[in-house]
């Protein structure tokens, strides 16, 4: 026969249980739903790509195989899998190409690091090439309405 739990011990266990319930990763309530809705399935399927067709996400792919993959997602959701777990499963089964966003590892970092470098680099290059005005431009000039075209100073000059 087991010893009865003492009051302090019980308080400690309850406290730990409360703490654990807060600390442990929260799973969305739908993950426990025995019959996940089409919208829940599509939300994940739209982030995965059909491994056998051309650039079609799984939620809109009309193939029978894709229907089966959507059913698989539904089953996995019903079993309580998280979105991350489902995506990882598909990537492990069919390769990185099923993920709409390439995983952040190895050479793929180029995709995530290059764009900010391009934008900031272009911005810095432009600003560096713009001349600072010597003094404040007079505020009196008005906006021209017709495209007055300055004389073409270099008109028709040959280089050679």
């Amino acid at each position: 026969m087991l010893d009865p739990i003492s009051a302090p011990k019980l308080r400690l266990i309850l406290l730990l249980a409360v703490l654990l319930s807060v600390v442990q990763p929260v799973r969305p309530t739908w993950a426990q739903d025995p019959t996940p809705s089409d919208d829940e399935v599509n939300r994940i399927a739209s982030q995965l790509y059909c491994p056998i067709c051309d650039n079609l996400s799984l939620d809109v792919c009309p193939l029978e195989a894709c229907q089966q993959w959507r059913d698989l997602i539904r089953e996995q959701l019903a079993q309580g899998w998280t979105e991350r777990e489902i995506k990882d499963y598909f990537i492990a089964q069919y390769g990185d190409q099923v993920s709409g966003e390439p995983p952040r590892r190895g050479l793929n970092w180029v995709l995530y690091l290059a764009p900010p470098i391009i934008v900031l680099g272009a911005f810095a290059l432009l600003v560096a090439n713009l001349k600072r005005p010597a003094r404040q431009t007079p505020a009196a000039s008005s906006e021209p309405d017709s495209p007055e075209i300055e004389p073409d100073h270099q008109a028709r000059r040959k280089v050679n």
Binding site: P62, G100, I118, E143, S146, R156
Partner: protein, 688 residues
């Protein structure tokens, strides 16, 4: 007979292109005009020859001559006349011939233009580019993708494909063709590919003129003046091609969207981005003695991207819903693309020092600085999109890993840049070309800013929008619309006060006086309205999927969609059409009915989804029939979308087109010296 005629005229056109190329080279080496003149005359003959060739193919398509392999592969007995005509660009070899025909058409410019004496030095190099490009595409059509090959029975019982009749063979004519891919059996097929091709091919004129200018060692902007209408024409067709493609995708691909960030879509967007940048900095070069390098680089980049896009679409190097079936033209196209791009780049680098300018733009609140920032954003988007297109190829080459770069990646990176562009469009009318009038700016801002704030307020209270980024984007778009309208209204008011004109006359006067400026304003207004449509569908789209029994309903976006029943019918050639009825109501009041359709083509093993759609300026209600119970027929699955504001995307595209037409009107704001001057005949002149 017609197939032989089409083939022979195509072969003749190719020979003339080769002759033209050699004649221009001889003319340049010997520095005499007669060879150049002879090449120019050869060019004049190519277009009619390719026209006869394409007319032959059209005849064969219309007549359903299934003994011709191309006709067999893209047409079938049940196809109506308009689809037989559009089948011309429904397959690889036909669309290549269409491309070559358009190219020959645009190239006519170099043959018929009355060249001024001081422009004559542009012509030989421009002709060189044109003949090289024409020769290449005609060569592809002639040797690698011939559209006139026929089926033949040989005496030994075997079958061959050949244009000309083999010894002792007889024609094999199948009873019916394979027919056009069902996805291409849509009115969008009439307009989308031709508009896109016109946009692509049209850039041959500015590109050849730029090469002419660079190769002849000129450093003026004459090439820009000559190419301006062609750049605008190509740009507007490219814009229309993109928008018509969006509409087609929206109407037929059945995912509730208009842009799937497919590699081929992006490949068409790339030259649009670079040519948009070019149109803006070309304006700067007209006003300032600078930007020669920049504009030349942009036009070379644009044409290189056109060829790159063609390569991506036709080589099968990338998987895409747009790709043509596997073909052997990938390698020659790659060689041509590399040769053209590297030669153009080499020429630009060679002339780089000669093209330097003393003009240094200032960092002030001016149209010039804002245009440069807009250029920067356009080119940043271009580079990011280019990276997204080529990265899967690089990944496979380097790490042997197949990668998909999907919409989420593109949207996250380009979204903020597009919003910044919309903001710049709104800010630009507030600035002057140099030295902005701060008093007037303050006055205009005091009017525009408070009114623009009404846009997010209306979206919040009336539309129930709670998404911060969407509210901010809508505010920026509203601000831009107002500054553009205020710019025009300010000019109308001034005219009215000063000249005491009739209000209607004052409305038209600024446009008549300066159609380029107000045409441009209309284009910008169109772009901002398009952005409102994009903000709506990207930021506020709602969707749901539900399986409904007859009489059951589902709610979305404040509307109720009730399933009323399914109709089945069998159409020509055994297609099975299933049409559902979804009654829409809002707070109990009937609003309309959606009729989503699913067409099944048993002989092709394909199904096409046509959404049921009801549009107004505020929202599109859009439903797709996903599946149904074939036995009981009393239950069906629908995917329903609530797409706010998307109609503004199509309205904006209409305004954009109208704006370019206004900007191209002949009128007072054109420079006198840009207009054609009486020209001396070319023949007999010595090249400088």
């Amino acid at each position: 007979m017609m197939a032989t005629l089409g083939y022979l005229t195509l072969a003749l056109a190719f020979l003339l292109a080769v002759y033209g190329l050699l004649a221009v080279l001889l003319g340049l080496i010997q520095k005499t005009v007669p060879w150049i003149e002879s090449a120019r005359l050869a060019l004049l003959l190519i277009f009619p020859l390719v026209t006869i060739s394409i007319a032959s193919l059209v005849f064969l398509l219309v007549e359903l001559r299934f003994d011709v392999a191309y006709v067999y592969s893209v047409t079938s007995l049940e196809m109506p006349l308009y689809l037989r005509l559009t089948a011309l660009w429904g397959g690889q070899s036909g669309s290549l011939l269409f491309w070559s025909w358009l190219l020959a058409g645009f190239s006519l410019y170099f043959g018929v233009h009355k060249w001024r004496n001081d422009d004559a030095d542009l012509l030989p190099y421009a002709l060189l580019v044109v003949f090289f490009t024409l020769g290449f595409f005609l060569m592809l059509n002639l040797f690698m993708e011939p559209p006139f090959e026929r089926f033949w029975h040989l005496p030994d019982g075997s079958r061959v494909l050949s244009v000309l009749k083999p010894q002792g063979a007889w024609l094999l004519t199948p009873a019916d063709g394979q027919g056009l891919n069902p996805l291409l059996r849509h009115p969008g097929m009439i307009w989308h590919p031709p508009a896109l091709y016109l946009g692509f091919v049209g850039f041959i004129v500015p590109f050849a003129l730029a090469i002419g200018s660079l190769a002849s060692g000129r450093r003026d902007r004459r090439w820009l003046e000559l190419s301006r209408p062609w750049t605008l024409i190509a740009w507007v067709f490219l814009s229309l091609g993109l928008v018509l493609g969006m509409r087609w995708a929206y109407d037929i691909l059945g995912w509730g969207g208009y842009w799937g960030w497919d590699p081929v879509e992006i490949a068409a967007l790339l030259p649009w981005l670079s040519s948009t940048a070019l149109i803006h900095t070309a304006l700067l070069q007209e006003r300032r003695d600078g930007y020669a390098r920049w504009n030349l680089a942009l036009v070379l980049l644009t044409f290189a991207l056109v060829i790159f896009g063609t390569f991506i679409t036709r080589s099968g190097v990338l998987s895409s819903v747009h790709s043509f079936a596997g073909s052997d033209i990938g390698l020659p196209m790659l060689i041509y693309t590399a040769l053209l791009s590297l030669s153009a780049l080499g020429l630009l680098v060679y002339r780089w020092r000669d093209l330097r300018s003393s003009h240094e733009p200032e960092f002030t609140f001016s149209k010039e600085t804002l245009t440069l920032f807009a250029n920067l954003i356009l080119l940043s988007i271009l580079m990011v999109c280019f990276l997204g297109v080529i990265y899967p190829i690089l990944s496979e080459l380097i790490t042997d890993t197949q990668i998909t770069v999907g919409p989420a990646w593109y949207k996250r990176i380009t979204g903020p840049l597009f919003i910044l562009l919309v903001f710049l469009v709104g800010v630009c009318p507030l600035a002057a070309w140099s030295g902005t009038n701060l008093v007037r700016l303050k006055k205009r801002l005091l009017i525009v800013l408070p009114i623009s704030l009404l846009v997010p307020l209306v979206a919040w209270f009336s539309g129930g929008v709670r998404h911060g980024v969407v509210l901010a984007a809508l505010w920026l778009a509203g601000f831009s619309v107002l500054t553009l309208l205020a710019d025009y209204a300010g000019r109308v008011a001034t005219d009215w006060r000063r000249k005491e004109q009739h209000p209607a006359a004052a409305l038209w006067a600024p446009i008549r006086r300066n159609h380029r400026r107000y045409g441009g304003l209309l284009v910008h207004l169109g772009i901002v309205l398009m952005s409102i449509g994009i903000i709506g569908i990207e930021g506020l789209q709602q969707e749901t999927q539900a399986t409904l029994a007859i009489g059951e309903a589902v709610d979305l976006g404040g509307y109720t969609f009730r399933f009323e029943g399914l109709d089945h019918r069998e159409e020509q050639a055994g297609w099975l059409v299933t049409e559902a009825r979804l009654a829409i109501s809002s707070e109990g009041d009937p609003v309309g009915t959606l009729y989503p359709v699913r067409e099944i083509y048993p002989n092709m093993g394909m199904a096409v989804t046509l959404p049921g759609l009801q549009s107004n300026l505020a929202v599109d209600l859009y439903a797709i029939l996903v599946d149904w119970q074939p036995i009981s027929q009393d239950q069906a699955t629908f995917r329903i979308f609530y797409n706010p504001l998307v109609t503004w995307l199509w309205i904006g595209a209409g305004l954009l087109t109208a704006g370019v037409v206004v900007a191209l009107l002949p009128g007072s704001s054109r420079r006198k010296d840009v207009q054609t001057v009486q020209v001396e005949p070319l023949a007999g002149q010595k090249l400088r």
